[in-house]
């Protein structure tokens, strides 16, 4: 059940209305049932994976909670990690690993071949396994008390607004809210609806209208001239941002209708002045997850320079791999790591750490630079193979075919893209719901009108699933 379908438009109001109508003690049952139903709408059998992950982490958590020292808790943490990463490996990385191993066998002259598995990747598996892993690790370190109520724990793992594409929430933030007796609040309702409206607009009108154009370029780059390839590259940067930002915004809005606040996942990332800031503004829940559960345990920056370099590369490499089982993602992650360190090096050497105030010339120039660098790296992310990415770059600097195909970008797509860029600039360090709520009544309703009309009339009609669902 995608957020931008009629099914969700029916499902969400039913859940919200029922949530406020039924007695408080049954609310978790309703939300859990709704979340499982939401997930089963993709493939019924895959609910078993969530249930397995939930049960293992619940039991591990309880057991760890009963044990005094870390050493005795360790086996339970290992169990939790093995089960979660095992599931992730089986469904997401097994075929990638066997494919590469088979290639290696071939190279060294071995005739063995490990057969591939034909398994469909369960939607959102990378998100909920990471979410539940964070709980186990927190309990292990004693930062989090083990949850005794299986129902609430299961709901934490599967809470439908953020189940399939995040934001990846921490137990300490989400679980207490699930237990609160939320009263129907006019502010939550209006703010939630505002966010859903804005998110739908960003996804359906901006992202989905760009998708088809970008697909043309990446499917047959050899048919296009370098200018059109450049347009394709730039447009993909906006496509992936609007697609994922739109999804996260709808998720946050949907949760807010139930009185639950989930974390912001984006803060105008393309206005970041450098790569480091970009990652503080892009997919924040994943960046902070890697920071807290990988970078810090590796020693962070309180280690030797060489070790720090290694830590950074490991974090970015694993972050790349998290996105998908393909060399393109690994290279994308590694390049981000190198770029991050390169920038740190240059900034340090030339003392470029100067703080630029928002919207100043310095800020704008640095943001443009960051945007271009990130856009170049997105080529690896979007391409099906490393060779594909390289061919895009080669074609970018070649003359192109004698009779090139021209990339047709409708005027309406340009207009909506511009609207999105302007709104992103206006909303720098702000959120749409609170920003629009402060506007004069009439202007506010004009904006609602434009958004509603845009969603209905200009939404892309092809079925482009959310990009991050595949992760």
């Amino acid at each position: 059940m995608l957020f931008n379908t009629i099914d969700f438009a029916i499902f969400l109001p039913i859940v919200v209305i029922s949530y406020y109508l039924i007695p408080y003690k049954y609310r978790w049952v309703l939300l859990l049932a709704a979340s499982y139903y939401f997930y089963m709408s993709w493939k019924v059998e895959y609910i078993l994976l969530i249930v397995a992950s939930t049960l293992v982490d619940y039991i591990s958590g309880i057991k760890m909670g009963q044990l005094e020292n870390r050493r005795s808790r360790l086996p339970w943490l290992i169990l939790s990690i093995c089960v979660n990463l095992g599931l992730l490996f089986s469904f997401k990385y097994f075929n990638f690993a066997t494919e590469n191993l088979n290639l290696l066998f071939q190279k060294v002259g071995l005739s063995q071949e490990i057969p591939a598995m034909s398994l469909l990747l369960p939607v959102g598996i990378s998100f909920y396994t990471f979410q539940t892993l964070s709980y186990s690790i927190d309990v292990y370190f004693g930062r989090q008390k083990a949850e005794k109520h299986l129902g609430y724990f299961a709901l934490y793992v599967s809470f439908f607004p953020q189940l399939v594409a995040g934001p990846i929430e921490r137990f300490s933030r989400l679980a207490p809210q699930l237990k609160l007796r939320h009263k129907l609040s006019y502010d939550n309702l209006t703010n939630g609806l505002r966010l859903i409206l804005y998110g739908l607009f960003i996804k359906m009108v901006v992202a989905d209208n760009i998708s088809g154009i970008v697909d043309q370029v990446y499917a047959h780059p050899e048919n296009f001239g370098s200018i059109d390839i450049l347009k394709g590259i730039m447009l993909y940067s906006f496509q992936i941002y609007s697609d994922f930002f739109g999804y996260s915004t709808i998720a946050i809005g949907s949760a807010l209708l139930l009185g639950i606040r989930i974390m912001d996942n984006f803060k105008s990332p393309y206005l970041a002045k450098n790569i480091s800031e970009f990652w503080q503004r892009w997919h924040i829940s994943l960046s902070t997850w890697f920071r807290d559960y990988l970078y810090f345990p590796l020693g962070g920056n309180r280690v030797s320079k060489y070790r720090w370099v290694l830590n950074i590369l490991v974090v970015f490499l694993i972050s790349g791999l998290w996105h998908g089982a393909n060399w393109t993602f690994i290279i994308w992650g590694l390049l981000f790591g190198l770029l991050y360190m390169g920038e740190r090096l240059v900034n340090g050497a030339f003392k470029l750490q100067k703080v630029h105030s928002a919207y100043s010339a310095g800020h704008i120039l640095l943001a443009i630079k960051t945007f271009f660098l990130v856009s170049i790296l997105w080529v690896f992310f979007r391409s099906q193979s490393f060779e594909g990415a390289i061919s895009i770059f080669k074609l970018l600097f070649q003359d192109g075919p004698a009779n090139p195909q021209y990339l047709l970008i409708p005027l309406s797509t340009w207009i909506f893209l511009m609207l999105f860029i302007v709104s992103d600039i206006l909303l720098y360090n702000k959120r749409f719901d609170s920003w629009v709520g402060r506007l004069p009544y009439l202007l506010r309703w004009v904006i609602y009108g434009v958004l509603i009309f845009g969603i209905i009339v200009f939404a892309g009609v092809e079925n482009f699933p959310f990009i991050y669902f595949q992760f």
Partner: protein
């Protein structure tokens, strides 16, 4: 309290007005463009003049021809030959079926003078693979803007994918599931419980050529025939029946003479490749359709075995694509059957 209610009512009215204005704007400025982009099949209906007497609704069977045909015209043209004084128009859409025809007919203007509607009835369209065909998604999408609701609401349904929007994989899973669910019943002992088992048996045992070797191409074709015709229509569960029933109801409502043109299938090849068991099922389904729709007052023209093997254009696949002689044979039977309504207008063609 009263003020609060006034505020709520005022807001509700404002929202209603907002939607009314949006609907008007959309209808005036964007609807036609969207129709041409996403539902251009409406043009098939628009192209039919109000004075048309007969309309023929067909899929690719109507306009497929073989290269060596001297006369490459459509089946509907051949029917028109036999009623020279009547105006016959066709609405041909490849891969269409009763679900699409129903919507097209619903859009026939009230002022239209059409008296007779001929609808293609393809036996194969009742099978699981056609019902769950990957083409369904785009066909269903093309119907959304044609729903009988305000244009803005239709566009909302289109934007929010309010149609059968399954992926190719999901549809494949659906027909595989149906193959397993639909058990085959014969009045005699039959070794295969369902079409999937029958298909597998054929694939494993294979068809042998004169030298005794398994002929892969023929075996594959036989398997394909089993999957295409190895089913028994359930009048209550088969969605195609409901769609044809809706056409019958609509014809009754609009006072049209209704003809169902049961298209020819390559029964010779079916018998040669698979044998009597498959022919039994095809005949059983034929009888069911004839009896069921004749009882509802529809003129059902039985062409199922009316075209010989050599007249089927595709020899390596199941299609209802016929060469000239085949198309003419079908047209002749349909035209002859329609004499009951137009005895004075009928002119017997020389083919």
């Amino acid at each position: 309290m009263r003020e609060r209610w006034t505020y709520i009512v005022l807001k509700a009215v404002s929202i209603l007005v907002l939607f009314l204005v949006m609907n008007l704007l959309y209808k005036q400025l964007f609807f036609e463009k969207d129709l041409q982009l996403y539902s251009s099949l409406i043009n098939l209906v628009r192209d039919v003049p109000l004075e048309a007497d007969i309309i023929y609704l067909g899929e690719s069977s109507n306009n497929s021809a073989r290269e060596d045909d001297l006369d490459k015209r459509k089946i509907s043209d051949f029917i028109a030959d036999q009623y020279p004084c009547l105006a016959l128009y066709d609405l041909t859409k490849p891969a269409a079926h009763a679900g699409i025809f129903k919507v097209l007919l619903q859009h026939m203007p009230e002022e239209s003078e059409v008296e007779t509607v001929i609808v293609t009835l393809t036996l194969r369209s009742f099978n699981a693979q056609w019902i769950h065909s990957p083409l369904e998604t785009s066909l269903r999408k093309s119907l959304v803007l044609l729903k009988p609701y305000p244009p803005l609401y239709n566009r909302f349904l289109l934007s929010f994918k309010a149609y059968d929007i399954k992926t190719k994989e999901e549809r494949e899973a659906d027909f595989q599931e149906q193959w397993l669910a639909d058990e085959l019943h014969f009045p005699y002992e039959f070794p295969h419980k369902d079409v999937q088992k029958w298909d597998r048996w054929m694939a494993y045992s294979g068809i042998r050529d004169k030298s005794g070797e398994v002929d892969r191409a023929q075996t594959e074709l036989a398997c394909h025939y089993i999957k295409a015709y190895g089913f028994q229509i359930d009048t209550l569960k088969n969605p195609r029946m409901a769609e044809f029933d809706a056409i019958v109801d609509l014809a009754r409502e609009r006072g049209w003479n209704l003809v169902f043109n049961l298209m020819a299938e390559n029964m010779e090849k079916a018998e040669q490749l698979v044998g009597d068991d498959l022919i039994f099922l095809m005949n059983e389904n034929r009888e069911l359709l004839l009896n069921y729709y004749r009882a509802k007052g529809v003129l059902v023209v039985d062409n199922l075995s009316g075209v010989e093997d050599s007249q089927f254009t595709d020899q390596n696949w199941t299609t209802e694509h016929y060469a000239e002689k085949g198309r003419k044979a079908i047209a002749k039977r349909v035209a002859a059957a329609m004499k009951i309504w137009y005895p004075d207008d009928y002119w017997e063609a020389g083919y």
